[in-house]
Symmetry: C3
Subunit: 265 residues, 3 copies
Amino acid sequence: MHSRIFPIVLLTDFGYRDPFVGIMKGVIAAIAPQTPVIDLTHGIRPQDIFQGAFVLRRSMDYFPRGTVFCAVVDPGVGTARRPLGIKTRDFYFVGPDNGLLWPAAAANGIESCVCLENSEYFLRHVSHTFHGRDIFAPISARLSLGIRLEILGSEVSTPVSLEFPEPEPQGDALVLTVMDQDRFGNLTLNLSLEAFKGFSGMSFYLGFKGRAVRTFHQTYGQADDSRPFVLPGSSGFIEVAVKNGSAARDLGADVMDRFLLKRLK
Amino acid sequence: MHSRIFPIVLLTDFGYRDPFVGIMKGVIAAIAPQTPVIDLTHGIRPQDIFQGAFVLRRSMDYFPRGTVFCAVVDPGVGTARRPLGIKTRDFYFVGPDNGLLWPAAAANGIESCVCLENSEYFLRHVSHTFHGRDIFAPISARLSLGIRLEILGSEVSTPVSLEFPEPEPQGDALVLTVMDQDRFGNLTLNLSLEAFKGFSGMSFYLGFKGRAVRTFHQTYGQADDSRPFVLPGSSGFIEVAVKNGSAARDLGADVMDRFLLKRLK
Amino acid sequence: MHSRIFPIVLLTDFGYRDPFVGIMKGVIAAIAPQTPVIDLTHGIRPQDIFQGAFVLRRSMDYFPRGTVFCAVVDPGVGTARRPLGIKTRDFYFVGPDNGLLWPAAAANGIESCVCLENSEYFLRHVSHTFHGRDIFAPISARLSLGIRLEILGSEVSTPVSLEFPEPEPQGDALVLTVMDQDRFGNLTLNLSLEAFKGFSGMSFYLGFKGRAVRTFHQTYGQADDSRPFVLPGSSGFIEVAVKNGSAARDLGADVMDRFLLKRLK
């Protein structure tokens, strides 16, 4: 046990109109009334494990050491898919074994991974359809209070992994993938700011469905018209943006779509 | 007075784009800065007392003893409808006297119910249109700090009640009502899992507008195609669901619509 | 330093589907784990500084003394626009120097206003596109812990101001402007309840695009049909509302539209 209480951070695809998230907070409050609960987001697209994994990975580093991430995007709820608890160098992760937790946990360094089996730490009645409430919330609450992971179940040696796509070389070009699309219509591509440096200093061509993006700006304010441009995104990847508009709408692009990036002579 | 501070749980139809909920939290923070405030949901459809009552009833049992539920779905705000404070076996309920609080409070056992009259515990200026801010938030804050209900007003013997529809026998069939529809398009029907057991073991027919639902699955994962099926819902009622889809959209069904359930020979 | 911890109140145009707000809360939790964080709203329309300023101004007075308002509607992020910290009589305000903070801060009485320059209190890496996370969240966290504003940067004598439109006399009539539109479709006009008193006692005409509003009701409940009426809004201004409907939809009116108010003989 430790004296400081660690926050629980929730990420789900439950949205905001239903009481699901509120009920999970009720379960947590009943077990760990002093534990602060932070909503990372509940706006993950229904059952989009990939988006959930990407959002968790890019957000993780901004939370304090000891944070318990409770993530629920869980199309396989109630089936044989395992419920997991993972201890990493700095954090705990709780959620379904479907790849959702993998990129974040692996990046932070997995120290221990267990299948949540010890039902004495669950709610008394476990439903087939809402493990967020019945398993993941109560386990997260107990981890925030300092319970040891080993008590909760037996070791899992090979959790389901999920790898983000890498930029793919194609001749002297790179094929890039849209990883996320935000409220402002900005498109996050899977190319790090570091890797883009070789392109931003010279002329480049970023193509999608016959459209071309050819300019790079450090900020929205520097863009001087409403054409799409490349922006250094806040998550460490490049983004495609439109000033006072939506690059997603303008280009007709969505998550998993692919762009072609070329240097120009 | 008691030493432990009880949480306040908010349920409203205020949505998320306006500052109404945030303002209520400001009022609470000014009176009871240590009280944790939990959002159950603010996505109740505007002025839908029935949906608010159902969501409150199905969520209540997951919150700790002592919780103050502050619920505001209040088309009659500013009229003669009374503002209520209710003490039940385990909880407090605060909100308008329009049936919203009734199913939850009655199920938990009403011990005392008062009309909130003592304006010294309200905000100084009470508007005609925002009692959530002016009456219900400050009263909830004070109840979380341990004020006695009797101080707040005089006893109400007959608060407005609201009864949920029961399954209606029709020959050897049952007419069921849609109680709620969630983000995933799942439809909650007013038949308990217990009551459905007599049907799920054999062939059944659940009809709506010429469409038939004939299969039962314990989980989404067991469904093998995109036809609607019956699922044991997490709130203790059966639900109609579509794997990776929306039963509400697929069937064109909404809250208060009625299904017919028959046993087949 | 003081012994009581002050809450941080967040207002942004970040919406609810992305992790931006959650990440800001992570930054705050890492610096000031005991500080309560309250969401005022994240539903400000993208880059609508005017709406953000109005919502902040009308909400401010309901929060406790010492509150740190962290407001981010920031189309100029990463450009030369200054990041500000403002101390007023009762509050702190943190956000971009684009007028967003001005009406609220000026109304409360500005005591000190600094340009946030001392990067030792920022996150280590400051992006060009997310100062909410990199500057405003960490500065707000430190202000909630009692750091003195003067340490954070040098005095700004003329922050960017933003004035709300006043009612404009036109002959014996007044031209009013729509300041806000809420979830229920109510339209807030820039005329105080006090100023409207001269009209509500007699016949009046409130016109918009050939439509006329001629009735005043204290509450929704008093309206007896579905025609738009004038209501005393909870923010101290008059509103145009439709019972069980939307005045915005019914009239086709939106923020910044103008109504004409006349006394009738």
